[in-house]
Symmetry: C2
Subunit: 361 residues, 2 copies
């Protein structure tokens, strides 16, 4: 069996022990004689798997009892509509922070449902920084404030949580959830596509304060109503059962790593190794992102000589370091180093980068 | 390893050879060093998996070139809204046939988006038959006609396809797709949740004639716009990659079984064995469904003495025959015998039913 260090931005690596357990249980989960994929979502076996996954997530993240945890489908892209459809609740305006491609997509979709007040944008400086909080033009009557704590494409991450007072804070955490401890009580709603730090693509987790749900815009599809899913324990219809099960295995793995505190220690160390290698390269490699908001999860970098990009990617792949090409809208390289990327993967990448620079510098 | 015959209505059994292949490839697909779950959906490995699955489905079903095949999320329940949102196209009314619980759900959701003309209903007779076509009060100007060729809960299946002329025919085939040959050109749109005859829950397949898409109702979420998904080859956002891959394995398996003609021969034989056992029981077992529309996929039946239900279920489970309890809204028993239920599973169930009747009759 071959395994590579896969730096994909998502879907991304999963912990090897999780894949091994899924492999072992593929035809017969726990003596049930069924694959988890084959189980009725309303049967006692699957209900126990689903409940345990939610309990573990609540424990890991310290989710307060007045927050619902929903296991949905449709990705963060569906949330871009669901959020205004559910959270505008008769208010005219929602605040949005524009820090990158994903923020911009959320804003574009929200504008179809209400007035969007863009409180700050870093678009003019090519989305390479986080706007200072004291520059934000917030609306005290906004239905909510939406931001993207980590921008997957450009590797810009907030090192702090905005204080929005009575305005519910809504966060697209697709590429940062579970990477470090978080005070969930500061948020009205957190959402995340699973395919980076949770499990396989096709599962979307929403954590929402229960007083915020129950009032949707006219025409909202029943399947886009948080209250429907909440009232039915995410089983209004058949959920993405196998993804939910795998997420549960990942949650157990996180507990084994020391929970979110353990993950944070590891993630910070991995990221620092990589940023240090970039900084120490004497300009051979460069980070386009401001130093105070460099992501722990997505590390974009460029080669000063872009003519070397192709050789870099090809030689890296030969060493089992794959999917390092930057997003098509940015170019250069991007190393996504989510929870499941082993530190050895980062070490191997750093060594390769040093060797490549020496050879081509 | 233990394996049971699982008669769940969905999620349901998958072919054992498909599970074995998925198991073997779990940590390393085809020497790539990655699980399929870990692959970027835009990488060459995954793109080849996705394209091959679509090509195989097109081949098996004989899908004409002017039909798009979409691999979506959200289940048939999301389609209940997507269909009117996309297919009303300025027309005031859509025709719906009401033959059971799933038809009724589709109707309820559609009413939120336009006028619904229920052309026929069998509700008064407890959804145990298919209404004769010459009784349908169709609207020649309807945007489309929606029906449910197989009602999963009550086991009522159309043995014929309605001829709706210029009115596009829309079918919820969640529990009958791929069970027998079909002339796709008779339909405007076919949709199916994967978790019965296609693959794992969380994947939804939509087959739609390309001239019908591109005009949505105001307020339709971007993710509910067929044209968006069609223009992006179902990769507008990250699809349910693992489910799509497994569906591809199931399509290969169907080809090995002789395609849909082979499946139909097997499915008809399996169903006939079971209905014959019910009919031959001298009233110990009863089918509530009219003889001309008994489903090949979902076989509900009752015991004349309902006091024996519990013993029936418990003794069946001891023989590895599981999930036979009828839907909570109907009671009694239901044996779902989709493509992947081996004939040996039906044979074992029939033997058990005969023994149980002899012992308790």
């Amino acid at each position: 069996m071959k395994r590579v260090f896969n730096f994909s931005a998502g879907p991304a690596m999963l912990p090897q022990s999780v894949l091994e357990q899924a492999q072992a249980e593929m035809l017969d989960w726990n003596g049930s004689g069924m694959s988890v994929m084959e189980m009725s979502h309303r049967g006692k076996e699957y209900m126990s798997i689903a409940a345990e996954a939610e309990a573990d997530l609540r424990e890991i993240m310290g989710i307060p009892a007045n927050y619902k945890v929903l296991f949905l489908q449709g990705g963060a892209s569906s949330q871009f509509a669901m959020i205004p459809q559910n959270l505008l609740r008769g208010k005219g305006t929602a605040d949005y922070v524009d820090t990158g491609d994903w923020s911009a997509k959320a804003i574009k979709e929200a504008k179809r449902y209400g007035n969007v007040n863009v409180v700050a944008t870093t678009k003019a400086s090519n989305y390479t920084s986080v706007p200072a909080f004291d520059t934000w033009t917030c609306d005290a009557n906004a239905a909510y404030l939406h931001y993207t704590p980590n921008e997957t494409i450009r590797g810009v991450e907030f090192a702090w949580v905005p204080e929005t007072g009575d305005v519910p804070l809504v966060a697209d955490m697709s590429s940062t959830i579970l990477s470090r401890p978080l005070d969930v009580s500061k948020f009205g709603l957190i959402y995340a596509g699973a395919q980076k730090n949770i499990g396989p693509a096709g599962l979307t987790i929403v954590i929402v304060r229960d007083d915020l749900i129950g009032e949707t815009l006219p025409g909202t599809p029943t399947m886009f109503d948080y209250k429907i899913h909440s009232d039915n324990e995410s089983m209004y219809n058949t959920p993405a059962t196998y993804g939910w099960y795998l997420a549960g295995l990942v949650f157990k793995w996180i507990k084994q790593q020391g929970g979110l505190a353990g993950m944070a220690t590891l993630n910070e160390r991995k990221a620092q190794k990589l940023y240090t290698a970039i900084e120490a390269s004497g300009g051979f490699y460069n980070s386009p992102v401001a130093a105070d908001c460099r992501s722990w999860m997505n590390v974009p970098f460029t080669l000063a000589n872009a003519d070397l990009d192709k050789a870099f990617l090809s030689e890296a792949a030969q060493q089992g370091l794959t999917t390092l090409k930057g997003h098509r809208s940015v170019g250069g390289m991007r190393a996504s180093i989510y929870n499941a990327m082993p530190e050895a993967g980062v070490d191997t990448l750093v060594s390769f980068m040093q060797d490549f620079a020496k050879k081509n510098g």
